[in-house]
């Protein structure tokens, strides 16, 4: 922004309201917690869910236009609204899971409620960022809250260790991001996306500066979405964090990371295509392969899902590669550039929705199976005979695993179908073949969970934690996984429309 303008808050209040509600809701929850001195914290969970639902409802009844807010710091469009809805929904599910566990075990964590709201606020800002500074603000708000959520389980050293590790490495990656932003700023002369876009289109940009800058920013985003080789924290943090937070991280943070990655990739498209296309293709392959191969060897279900989450970041990265491929490829690709971009962009959005559903279903079951003394249900072998002792929980986990493996008629298959279609549409058949080989490898370790649950008899030390509400919630998500797998079209069409709305 060249000249400073006074923001007209009143005019933008309607569009800002969802963000303000979540922020204010977080503060409200903190205040309420300090005044209502009961041991049981159910009222906080109701309040949190109320705040999230309120934000979503305000958004639904509010203005549907694409506008920039706060002097171009934020942009709201259908894209950000869909992601806000996704974050809020994940937040509600996570709150239900967490509260179920707190109530059952009697170990309450009041700080969970405001932090989850602040984390979601960060994600909402991140997805709506229209300025390098808001990217950083959103990312840090999201991350700082998550560091505490990961590490804040009292008396649990592995949680503390995970939180600390995540904090240190996260800080490190933020530094990369900031350095990248500084370089991009240096070349564009402004931090707004509009400035960057304008600078990229006029004259010959300094390729070294913008290449290096965008590359360093990619490192920062790559860390958040667990892209190899910036994935090192993933297994330890996923394993150490309580399961409800692991589910939250695997879905919401990944969705937020890819939301900004998609917009960043569109913004920087020509330069990104020029400088980083081969590297990103290689990283996508590496991420898928490393994630799946290492997941094969895991006996700990949370570590397994951590590596699977790395692998899924790789699949999603294929989508990004397909999206930026037109500017890299030959004239034929250029011609269909828009179609390819739309196909891959909508595939990424659909994939994130589907992936969130199946992962939350899985983590919902994992979360409640632990026996209640703070112990996590993470040893796959101790899932033996779950289909006998808890058929609904076992069926839910089975659906989630089959969906993650990409078996029809689950949503995981449709997500992969859309994604690989886009990749093949971009003419990247070798990448698609690497992708399907990877999804083949993944079948083995997902099936292992089914083997243990269904084909082994219950044993003395099999997990047996129960909690009604969580199971119902997870089962409902599993039903959604199947429903979306059978009739995905309306969601995909929505993803397509939403993607078309992205602009700078």
């Amino acid at each position: 922004m060249n000249e400073f303008q006074i923001t007209d808050f009143a005019a933008q209040a309607g569009d800002l309201l969802p963000y303000l509600v979540v922020a204010g809701g977080g503060l409200l929850v903190m205040v309420v917690d300090s005044f209502v001195r009961t041991l049981k914290k159910d009222h906080l969970s109701y309040l949190t869910i109320f705040v999230l639902c309120g934000a979503v409802i305000l958004q639904i009844i509010g203005d549907k236009s694409d506008t920039t807010l706060l002097n171009g710091m934020l942009i709201t469009s259908d894209f950000t609204r869909v992601f806000n809805f996704l974050f809020a929904a994940i937040g509600v599910v996570t709150t239900i899971y967490a509260t179920g566990l707190f109530d059952r075990d009697g170990r309450y964590r009041p700080e969970f409620y405001p932090l989850i709201l602040f984390s979601i606020l960060g994600m909402m800002v991140l997805a709506a960022a229209n300025d390098l500074l808001t990217i950083f603000l959103g990312l840090e708000t999201m991350s700082l809250s998550t560091y505490i959520l990961v590490g804040g389980v009292r008396g649990n050293t592995s949680s503390s260790e995970a939180g600390f590790k995540y904090l240190i490495l996260g800080g490190f990656s933020s530094a990369f991001l900031l350095m990248g932003m500084a370089l991009v700023y240096g070349f564009a002369g402004g931090t707004g996306f509009a400035d960057i876009s304008a600078a990229l289109q006029t004259g010959t940009p300094d390729r070294l500066l913008v290449g290096l800058g965008s590359g360093l920013m990619l490192v920062g985003f790559g860390f958040k979405v667990a892209l190899v080789p910036f994935h090192m924290w993933t297994p330890d943090v996923y394993d150490g964090a309580p399961s409800y937070i692991t589910g939250f991280m695997a879905t919401a943070i990944k969705a937020a990371g890819f939301a900004i990655l998609v917009r960043f990739a569109i913004l920087m498209q020509p330069q990104l295509g020029f400088a980083w296309y081969p590297v990103l293709s290689a990283l996508a392959i590496l991420t898928m392969s490393a994630g799946n191969l290492i997941a094969l060897a895991q006996n700990n279900i949370k570590r397994m899902l951590a590596w699977s989450s790395v692998a899924h970041a790789g699949y999603l990265m294929l989508g990004i590669v397909a999206m930026i491929s037109p500017t890299h490829g030959g004239s034929e690709q250029m011609m269909h550039g828009q179609a390819i971009g739309e196909a891959s962009g909508s595939a990424i959005i659909f994939y994130l929705i589907g992936y969130s559903l199946m992962n939350l279903a899985a983590f919902g079951v994992i979360n409640i199976l632990g026996q209640g003394n703070g112990e996590e249900a993470d040893d796959i072998n101790r899932y033996a005979g779950l289909s006998r002792t808890q058929p609904v929980a076992a069926a839910t986990l089975a659906v989630a695993m089959l969906s993650l493996a990409g078996i029809p008629p689950m949503v995981g298959f449709m997500a992969k179908f859309y994604l690989f279609s886009a990749v093949i549409k971009a003419g990247l058949i070798p990448l698609a073949i690497v992708g399907v080989i990877n999804s083949l490898i993944s079948v083995y370790y997902y099936l292992r969970v089914l083997v243990v649950m269904y084909m082994k008899e219950p044993e003395e030390d099999s997990y047996d934690g129960k909690e009604m509400v969580s199971v119902v919630m997870a089962g409902f998500l599993a039903l959604l996984v199947i429903t979306l797998g059978v009739i995905p079209d309306s969601f995909h069409r929505m993803a397509m429309l939403v993607f078309r709305g992205i602009q700078f």
Binding site: L402, I407, P408, P409, F413, F417, F420, S421, I424, K425, I429, A432, I433, V436, I437, S439, L440, V443, Y444, L447, L450, V451, Y454, M455, I487, P488, D489, H492
Partner: protein, 522 residues
Amino acid sequence: MSFITDHILTWVTFLPLAGALLLWTVVRREAQARIFAMAIALADFVLSLHLWFHFDTGRGDDQFVERVAWLFNGQISYHLGMDGISLVLVMLTTFLGPLVVLSTWRAVTERVAGFLGFVLFLQAAMLGTFFARDMLLFYVFWEAMLIPMYFIIGIWGGQQRIYAAVKFFIFTMVGSVFMLVGIIYLYLQAGSMNLTDFLNLQIGHEAQLWLFAAFFLAFAIKVPLFPLHTWLPDAHVQAPTAGSVILAGVLLKMGTYGMLRFAMPLFPEGVAYFAPYINILAVIGIIYGALVAMVQPDVKKLVAYSSVSHLGFVVLGLFSLTSVGIAGGVFQMLAHGLSTGALFLLVGVIYERRHTREVSEFGGLAHGMPLYATFFMIATLASIGLPGLAGFVGEFMILFGAFSSQAVAHARLMAILAATGVVLGAIYMLWMYQRVFLGKLKNVKNEGLPDLSLREMAVLIPLVVFMFWLGVRPGLVLDRLGPSLEKVTAPLNIQADDHHILQSSTTATDNPVFVIRNTEGQ
């Protein structure tokens, strides 16, 4: 009833699925579950009879078509249809359904509702695969078949069941994922997943070779064609009897069905290029399967390897690219479903009584169990292709086709080698029969075993009836196949039936079946 007959294919496909869902949620009690599953399977059979009697024999195109837009504004649709080839295989599936359910009455005693649910789920997926005329829909059904079979083997199977179940799943997936890439590639070319649009595509030579390889791999694993057969003996031996019957009866036919329906018509140049090699593999499979079957100590494993041999015949018939051979191949699919299905049921009968299937444990069973021995004999003879029984017709037509085929390198030698497979088949089956049933009753454990019960007879008699019926009146099936085969294989360069084998097999000689397309005249 028009709400049923207007959407008859959907009803036939999804009735078992609805039954499965009810079995898993509502009808959980064992006795009720059995009767409920039986009722659903019978109802599905009755519904499919509508297809049989209302099928227009003279037409080769899809009938009873249903089409509803599904994805991408109808580029991908829920598109079902049925021609003669599908009809025959669908009838086999729905016919075996109630028999399979009935056969589990005493064999499966744990988690009965769950088991029967998976059986019905599997039946729905198989029927959907035969009906699907949209490639993505086909793929969805094709993959969905894996899930119930995986559980059937993995939960209710034998000692090594987990290994066998996982191996089955992974092996099949290996082939299908490459096919998926091929399907998407074709979809982007055609702008639609409709099979007809795929058939109208002009695909370059090299692309045809790659795509054919991708499709063929998926189907060859399912068949299974030598050397991709190694999952089959494990799956069969570990699967419970009902699982083996479905596996041998219908599931293996998915592979050859897929070849005939998709791989061959879509990529004629791929077929022309690969057919000689495929035929060699088929002949190796025929002989290898027979030789390995011969030395099996376990009766079930013997029958499993005999499937490798028999399915080798089917592939040889299809890729002989002669009208007789292809018709024979489809007929053999049916005949093998009946005879091998019956054999697995019979093996299951003795396993229930003795909890072993080792040939060496038996001997002289015919003394105590004359009915059992008789049924076993009939199934054995049907399997080795005795004239008058169903197996003969298929094998004869395939060998005839292969012998005169121009697509087979050294056609006569290959036909002769394949024919030795028939001889070997007779040797291993009869030798096994001799060791199990004839001679003196040596093993005391085999004394006083009860003969077939009424329920077991009720399972076996329909199978035996059809073995004879199709053996003496193959026209019943071939009539319905003819026009459809002609249509499906139209893109291929098929050798005409110069010797009018197919015509003589029908009762109405003025109604020529399958291809009187003279290739010389073109």
